[in-house]
């Protein structure tokens, strides 16, 4: 008896339909075999399926069972095929038909219940595009799939329940999508209000958040670099609908959505340690997985102690920083993951860390300092729009907090300004493929950043005086554009450009 159960396979973010064909033959020795380029986890599903069926008080058929996964030349990985395989066997034993226009996915537990499985969201997207109307997924994964409108998502608790549903003994109702409030507290560790002093650094953070600019902070240990970075998510605008979809896709593919989770609406903040591997950071592996840079898509990638990262990792960031995506090429397959993130880097000025410290003396030689600073390559620095030095603050200066209250703005207030600036950008780039000032290419700059004579004069003067490269020249225009947006103005004026110059690379050269 031959049964077909449709499911999917995810290759990166691309989804392909997979037909699970199950044949129960009366001839031959009883056995259980899976063919069709099945990975280890798929092969092991035999034992899960067998035990789960027995736990559901159904006798496992003593027949020669062969499972084929078509197309047979696409590698299949993961535990999501437990449900379709088990369902195929059960439909033969209990004699119910597999419904039309349905897709199945889920990992089985030994007791027959279904566990949260990654990829449900991608399956729902695929179902909508390909005309499938019913999805049967584990209960914990149902909500994320239901975020896609137009498909019915049935939350299945255990395999027995699903059989009773198909036999007409018990009805499962499609789940109604419920947006789970992201626990924002868990991402935002600090409010900008808690960061004492550092006015200029905070302003730079605001500009970076408003225009999606990359930023690097140079400063002594304990000067507050990490705290500033950790406060950044609090001033970032939420994801818009399109962005939210993109980010949720990546997280669904990598299993990053928690049980019962929904669409991701907050910008993600990823802070990998400098011992992270190349594959872990940019993505890869023999079956290419998204790396930290893709998990930080539309969000923030915070690289603390930037010059401690191995050179290979830093250089690997160049392409995604420029293009906003990364293609992982393997002999078997080529997978492209989006990686349009905002890079926030922090570094010490010298090996001992105190070259910029007002009180402690630095005992590094000039050679050591140069070597240390050279660890961050020019091409990477060139792709960072905002450069700031962070000096340690004297805590005693801030005992009288009342006096300085006007300088201690809460994150929410800054966030409002950031959102207004983003709205201006969205309106500006409505007909373009980009969405923030930082993504502007030279053609966009020509089109959207017309400089008045006196503004251009200042920039020219500065590029001579501070030795700005051609790319830096363009970066200054982009930053000035964002500052003008924060100001709510359409024209870039002299003050905007002058402020932008504050964040040009010359400002932290120590030697």
């Amino acid at each position: 008896m031959l049964i077909k159960v449709p499911s999917i396979v995810n290759l990166g973010l691309e989804t392909i339909k997979v037909d699970i064909e199950i044949n129960l033959a009366n001839k031959g020795l009883p056995g259980f075999e899976i063919v069709g380029l099945a990975g280890k986890a798929v092969d092991e599903s035999k034992e899960r399926v067998r035990t789960a069926i027995q736990s559901s008080d159904v006798d496992f058929p003593a027949k020669k069972i062969t499972v084929n996964m078509a197309p047979a030349d696409v590698p299949k990985e993961g535990s999501m095929y437990d449900l379709p395989i088990a369902l195929g066997i059960l439909s033969s034993v209990l004699e119910f038909p597999i419904p039309q226009k349905s897709l199945f996915l889920g990992e089985l537990s030994f007791d027959g219940s279904l566990r949260h499985t990654k990829g449900a969201f991608l399956m729902a997207l695929f179902a909508k595009e390909s005309g499938y109307t019913n999805l049967y997924v584990p209960k914990d994964s149902a909500n994320e799939a239901a975020a896609i409108k137009g498909v019915k998502v049935f939350p299945v608790e255990d395999i027995g329940q699903l059989c009773r549903h198909f036999l007409g003994q018990e009805e499962i109702f499609p789940i109604i999508y419920k947006a789970v409030k992201d626990d924002k507290k868990s991402i935002v560790e600090f409010d900008m209000k808690e960061v004492l002093g550092q006015e200029q650094a905070k302003r730079a953070m605001e500009i970076a958040a408003a225009g999606g600019h990359n930023i690097i902070m140079i400063g002594s240990p304990g000067s507050g670099k990490t705290m500033l970075a950790r406060a950044l998510p609090g001033i970032l605008p939420p994801l818009n609908d399109v962005e939210s979809l993109e980010v949720t896709k990546i997280y669904s593919a990598s299993g990053g959505i928690p049980p019962g989770g929904s669409l991701i609406t907050n910008r993600q903040f990823r802070a990998p340690h400098h011992t992270a591997s190349l594959a872990g950071l940019v993505g890869g592996g023999s079956k290419p997985q998204p790396g930290e840079i893709s998990l930080a898509h539309r969000g923030v990638l915070f690289l603390d102690e930037f010059n401690e990262f191995p050179r290979t990792i830093m250089e690997a960031l160049r392409q995604p920083l420029e293009d906003g995506y990364l293609t992982i090429s393997r002999s078997r397959q080529r997978i492209t993951y989006p990686a349009d993130f905002m890079l926030v880097a922090s570094a010490n000025p010298c090996p001992c860390g105190y070259a910029l410290h007002p009180k402690k003396s630095c005992n590094c030689s000039q050679n050591q300092i140069q070597k240390y600073q050279k660890r961050i390559s020019g091409p990477i620095l060139d792709r960072i729009d905002l450069h700031i030095s962070v000096m340690p603050v004297d805590a005693t200066e801030f005992e009288d907090n009342q006096k300085n209250s006007e300088f201690l703005e809460a994150s929410d207030k800054i966030r409002k300004r950031v959102m207004q600036a983003r709205q201006k950008q969205e309106a500006r780039f409505a007909t373009e493929t980009i969405c923030s000032n930082s993504q502007m290419k030279n053609s966009h700059i020509k089109k959207y950043c017309k400089l008045a004579k006196d503004v251009e004069a200042i920039l020219r003067q500065a590029s001579l005086k501070f030795n700005l490269s051609a790319r830096s020249y363009m970066k200054m225009i982009k930053v000035a554009r964002t500052i003008a947006d924060l100001d709510g103005v359409d024209e870039i004026a002299v003050p905007h450009m002058a402020e932008a110059l504050q964040y040009s690379p010359k400002n932290f050269e120590t030697a």
């Binding site: 002093g197 006015e199 007002p358 009180k359 402690k360 000039q366 006007e406 002058a498 504050q502």
Partner: protein
């Protein structure tokens, strides 16, 4: 090519020979290798100027100011060619057309630090001297720096220490100078600065605190500008910008260098607005940024 002067030669500087007698003549260099213009004139009036490798903006400015006047008056500036304080002294001397002697801690055919190749050539081009007691391409060692210091101190009539930490090569040079019985000048600096602690210690021990070039020139008994009039005319900041905030910034920076954050708090101005003014003032050349602090030019 490098040439050599033996200790018994007439050309060997007397001032060095006599100085070294005080610690035992056998400790002096037997041979001096040199490149450049060896003339008795250049050794007549020498001032050693030494300072920290981590020279602050203040130290650099003060060195430029003092050395420019002293060197232009015909005093030869002797130093150790290290980056920081030494380099500031050499280049100030070269720029005003004065003579300068660089005593190397390495073999005569090496340039150390290599990054100062340009300065090395400038010293030779302006009739200065490069001296070393080591031949060929001897690598610098920790002890050669100290050995070098005794020549720096011995060649001159007085030593000016611009900035020095408590344990530093500049203080070693100063202690050689004391043993040789040379006059010691020290540049006073802020007591909070790590690299002023050494100079302040010297002042406490009797070094002459220098506040103007005249202090040094009086010692050399040559009048300012007597021999050369190459002192570049320094244009002072005309402290009138017509802008209220810029005016305030200039007034404040006259007293002490400040960070942008500090000024924003002091004037109660949003840092965005302050940044605008700072950039514009920087472009106009009124102020300068160094190590995160703004200075008046």
């Amino acid at each position: 090519m490098a040439e050599v002067v033996e200790v018994n030669s007439d050309k060997y500087p007397k001032v060095l020979k006599e100085a070294l007698k005080k610690i035992g003549a056998s400790l002096g260099p037997k041979k001096l290798y040199y490149k450049g213009n060896w003339s008795p004139d250049i050794f007549r009036n020498c001032l050693s100027v030494v300072g920290s490798r981590h020279l602050t903006y203040y130290g650099r400015k003060a060195t430029e100011q003092l050395v420019t006047e002293v060197a232009a008056a015909g005093v030869t500036i002797v130093s150790g060619f290290m980056y920081g304080g030494d380099e500031a002294a050499h280049s100030a001397a070269v720029k005003c057309g004065g003579k300068t002697i660089a005593v190397m801690p390495c073999g005569i055919d090496l340039i150390h630090p290599a990054s100062q190749k340009k300065l090395y050539e400038e010293i030779l081009d302006t009739g200065g001297l490069i001296i070393s007691e080591y031949e060929g391409k001897t690598q610098p060692q920790i002890f050669t720096y100290v050995q070098r210091d005794r020549i720096v101190a011995g060649l001159s009539k007085a030593v000016l220490v611009t900035e020095a930490a408590l344990e530093s090569g500049s203080l070693i040079t100063a202690s050689y100078a004391t043993k040789f019985g040379k006059k010691i000048f020290a540049l006073p600096g802020p007591i909070t600065s790590e690299v002023s602690k050494g100079t302040i210690k010297l002042i406490k021990e009797g070094a002459y605190p220098v506040t103007e070039a005249k202090d040094i020139l009086d010692f050399f008994k040559v009048l300012p500008g007597a021999q050369k009039t190459l002192i570049p005319a320094k244009s002072k900041v005309t402290a009138n910008t017509g802008d209220n905030l810029e005016q305030k910034i200039i007034e404040q920076l006259k007293r002490e260098p400040l960070k942008a954050d500090e000024m924003a708090r002091l004037f109660s101005v949003p840092v965005a607005k302050l940044g605008t003014s700072l950039s514009l003032m920087q472009l106009k050349g009124f102020i300068n940024l160094d190590n995160g602090k703004y200075y008046l030019n």
